[in-house]
Symmetry: C2
C-alpha cells in the first residue's frame, strides 16, 4: 500500500484510453443527458434535470462501492473511508451545474474523474490511509440565481443559507422556494451528522449541514476554458494561482447634442471618451504583461441614436491577476488614466466598484507534486494561472489546494462547442489519480 | 413700392420687440399649445394635435387677410397674390411637425415668422409685385413615419404619394390610413386646382396636388440647433450650404471568449477594435477641419456580458460636409483606416451604406442679399454651414433658396429645453421680412 504509485504503479507509458478512462468518459456522457432542452447542456441549480443528475451520481457512486453522503444544500459526496479516520479528508471534485447552453465538460469532468479515480484506487490499492471523498458541488456558475459557489461556499463557510430567502431567479422564484420544490431540506436536519448511504432514498439532500472542517486537501481537475495549453501544446496545466478579480462599472458623462450642428471642437462626446479609455485599458494591460487580463465586456450608449452625439456611456471593467499587489497597482493605474482622459475632454467620470476577489494561490507542495507526476508520467505540462474562478479558490485559504487543467479546444467553453479529446481527458485523470494516491495512500 | 426697404424702411435701429415681433411671438406660443401630453411639444404628422395646429393656422392666415390654400398631403399656404401673377412665387416657411418631446421653435418659428412677415408687408406696402406665400409644411422630422420631408418632398417631387401604402408608424398604422383618419384626401381631388380659402371648412387638406412648379425662390428661417452663433456671439447665421450626409452601419467581428482565461495577445476583441476605429474617426475629423463633422451615435456590443470578450460590435457613422468632394474623400479615408485597423487586429469588418444625401448649396445671390441686409440693419452675422437637414435642401436644386439662422441657447434642440430669446427671434423676423421685401416688391 505504500508503493511509489507516481513512479512505479501509475501506468506512465500505458495507452491512455484504458479501462478507468473509458469508465470516466462514459460517466461524462451519461451526465450530459441530464439537461434542459436546447443546444449543449443546461443544468441549472435545483431544476428537475439537476436533481436527476445528482440522484444518478449517488446511485453510481454507491454502485462503485463508495459510501454516499449528501448535505442540506444538495452537495453529493462519494466516500472511501481511510484506515486513519482521525486524519483529515482528501477531497476532490467539481460542480454539477452548468451555464445556459453550456458544454458537457465544465464541472462534470472534475466529478466524473473524481469518482473514477476513487473507484480505481480502491480496486487497485484497497482502503486508503486517509479518507478520500469525491464531491459533486451543487452549484458554482451563478447561472440561475445571482450567487456563485453556492455549493463550495457552504462547505467553506462563505454562505450559511440565510441568503436563500431574498435571492431570486429571473422568474422570481426564490432560492429557498427552489430548494423546497426540489426536496432539498436546508437546515431541516442540520442537527444530524453525515447520514451515510441514501442512494436508495430517491432524494438529494435532506442531509447534514454543508459546512466541513475536516478537509485536509482539495484537488480540482477542470478543463482550462482558455487557449493557452492548446497554443503551447501542453497536456497538463499545473495551476499556480486562481487570479484575483476586480470589477467596476464606469460611467462617462458628456453632452448629448446634434450630430450635424455641433462642430468637432465643441463636443463632449461620451463615446469618443470611452473609446479612448478602452484603448488605454488594452494598451496598459498589454504593457503589464501576463498574467494580467483586462476586459470591458459590456457597454451601453445613451441615447444611442445615430444622429445624436452620445451623452453618456456605461461600461464594465473586469481586471484579473494572480498577485494582489499587481492587481491593485494596475487598477490604480487604469483609474488614474481614465480620470486624465475624462478631465482633458471635459467629461465627468464615475467609477463604481462591483466585485473584489483576492487571488487564491495554490499550495506549493501540491503543485510541486503535480509537476513531479507529470514528469514521471512523461507528460508535457506548464505552470499557469487560472483566469477563471473555480470552487478551488474557496478552499485555498483553508487547506492545501491544487488544480489541474486539461486543454480546451480553441479555448472555447460555456458553449455547446466546448470540447476536450478523450486522450486529453484521460491524461488529466491519470495525473489526478496519481496525486490522490500520493495524498491518501502514503 | 420700390422703396429701399432694406436701408430705409426696415426699422434698422428700432427696438426689437415691436408690434410684428410681438404678433409672431404670440403665434409661436399659440402653436405650442397643440401638443400631445408630455414634456415640451409633441406634434406628430396626422395626429389630432397636428390637425388642430394646421386648422388653427388656416384660420389665423385668413384672419390676417391671406388667401388660404392647402394641398392633398396637408401642407397649408397663406397667399398674398402679386400684381404680376405670371411671375413665380416667393415662398417662405418651415414645418409644423415636431420630434417627440421637442421644443416650440424648431419648424414653428419659420412658419410664425413667415405669416407675420407677409401680414406686415401687406399692411405696410400693400400688394406685392410677385406673389408671396407663407407655408406650413406638414412634415419634415420623420418622427412618426420612417420618412422625412413628407411635406416639402411632395412640393418638390421627391414623393408622389405612392409611398403611403407601405409605410407604417411604430403602431402599425400606415401613412395612408393615418391620412384617411385625419381627413387628408391625398389624390382624391388631385384634378382640382388650388381651391382657395377653406379656413371655414374645418378640415385640412382635401386640396390640390402638392407638387408645385411655380416657385421662384424659397426662404426658410430656422433656429440654428447648434451652438456656433451663441459661441461666436452672432445674431444671424447666413447659411451657405446644407451639409451633405453619409450614413453607414459598421460591423466589427472578432471572437467572443472568456475574459479571465484569454491572454491579451490571444484576443480578437471586437470592442477594442471598434474603440480604435472611433478614436481614428474623431482624430481624422478634427484634422479635416470645419465644416466636417463625424459621429458614431449608436453602438451595440455582443454578447454584452461583463466577463466575456466582445465578439461583435455594430456601430453607426454619420458624416457631414458642405462639399461633395470633401465628403467623399473623408468617407474613403475613414473606411480605409477602419480596414487597416481590422486587418491588423485579425477582425472582420463589414461596412454597410445606409444614407447618402448630397450637399445643398444656397443661392449666392440670396446669401449676398442677406449679408447686405444684416449690415444695413446693423446686425452681427456669420456665414455658416447647416449641419442639420432642412426643407430648404429640397428646394435648392430647383430654385434660388436661402436659409437664415438665429441662435439656439446652448445649442440645444429637439428638446423641451430648446430656447431662443424674443430679441433673437425678432432679429430673424426682421431679416426675413427685409429679404421678402427685396424679392417680392422690387
Amino acid at each position: 500500500m505504500a508503493a511509489d504509485y507516481g513512479k512505479a504503479v501509475c501506468p506512465m507509458n500505458a495507452p491512455m484510453i484504458q479501462a478507468p478512462a473509458q469508465e470516466m468518459l462514459k460517466l461524462l456522457e451519461e451526465l450530459a443527458v441530464f439537461s434542459a432542452p436546447g443546444a449543449g447542456v443546461t443544468r441549472l441549480l435545483y431544476t428537475p434535470e439537476w436533481s436527476r443528475a445528482q440522484f444518478f451520481l449517488q446511485e453510481r457512486m454507491a454502485g462503485l462501492g463508495l459510501e454516499v453522503v449528501s448535505d442540506n444544500v444538495g452537495n453529493v459526496y462519494g466516500k472511501l473511508t481511510g484506515r486513519n479516520p482521525e486524519d483529515k479528508v482528501i477531497l476532490t471534485g467539481s460542480h454539477i451545474d452548468t451555464v445556459i447552453n453550456g458544454g458537457k465538460y465544465d464541472g462534470a469532468y472534475g466529478i466524473a474523474a473524481a469518482v473514477t479515480a476513487l473507484h480505481y484506487l480502491q480496486q487497485t490499492f484497497g482502503q486508503p490511509l486517509r479518507t478520500l471523498k469525491a464531491v459533486s458541488f451543487c452549484e458554482e456558475e451563478g447561472s440561475r440565481f445571482p450567487l456563485t459557489f453556492w455549493g463550495s461556499g457552504h462547505v467553506t463557510g462563505l454562505y450559511d443559507g440565510s441568503e436563500a430567502e431574498a435571492c431570486a431567479d429571473s422568474e422570481g422564484v426564490t432560492l429557498e422556494a427552489a430548494m423546497v420544490e426540489c426536496g432539498i431540506g436546508m437546515g431541516i436536519r442540520s442537527d444530524k451528522a453525515e447520514s451515510g448511504d441514501k442512494s436508495g432514498s430517491g432524494t438529494v439532500g435532506m442531509g447534514s449541514t454543508a459546512r466541513r472542517n475536516d478537509i485536509g486537501a482539495f484537488v480540482e481537475l477542470h478543463i482550462e476554458q482558455g487557449i493557452i495549453l492548446e497554443k503551447t501544446a501542453k497536456q497538463i496545466g499545473v495551476v499556480q494561482a486562481i487570479a484575483g478579480q476586480r470589477r467596476f462599472m464606469v460611467e462617462v458623462c458628456g453632452t448629448a447634442n446634434h450630430a450635424g450642428t455641433t462642430p468637432m471642437h465643441m463636443r463632449q462626446d461620451a463615446l469618443a471618451g470611452a473609446a479612448e479609455m478602452l484603448l488605454a485599458l488594452e494598451g496598459l494591460a498589454a504593457e503589464a504583461g501576463e498574467p494580467l487580463v483586462a476586459t470591458s465586456g459590456r457597454l451601453e450608449v445613451l441615447p444611442n441614436t445615430p444622429n445624436v452625439i452620445p451623452g453618456e456611456v456605461l461600461f464594465t471593467l473586469d481586471i484579473r491577476h494572480s498577485e494582489e499587489e499587481e492587481l491593485e497597482a494596475f487598477c490604480d493605474c487604469i483609474l488614474a488614466a481614465f480620470k486624465g482622459i475624462a478631465a482633458r475632454r471635459g467629461l465627468t467620470l464615475k467609477i463604481m466598484p462591483r466585485l473584489s476577489a483576492s487571488p487564491a494561490p495554490m499550495d506549493g507542495g501540491l503543485t510541486g507534486m503535480l509537476e513531479s507526476i507529470c514528469r514521471n508520467q512523461g507528460r508535457t505540462y506548464r505552470n499557469m494561472v487560472s483566469g477563471a474562478g473555480h470552487d478551488a479558490q474557496l478552499f485555498a485559504p483553508q487547506c492545501p489546494t491544487a488544480m489541474i487543467f486539461v486543454p480546451s479546444r480553441a479555448g472555447i467553453s460555456h458553449s455547446p462547442e466546448e470540447y476536450s479529446s478523450p486522450e486529453e481527458l484521460a491524461a488529466g485523470l491519470d495525473v489526478l489519480t496519481a496525486l490522490l494516491y500520493e495524498l491518501a495512500y502514503k
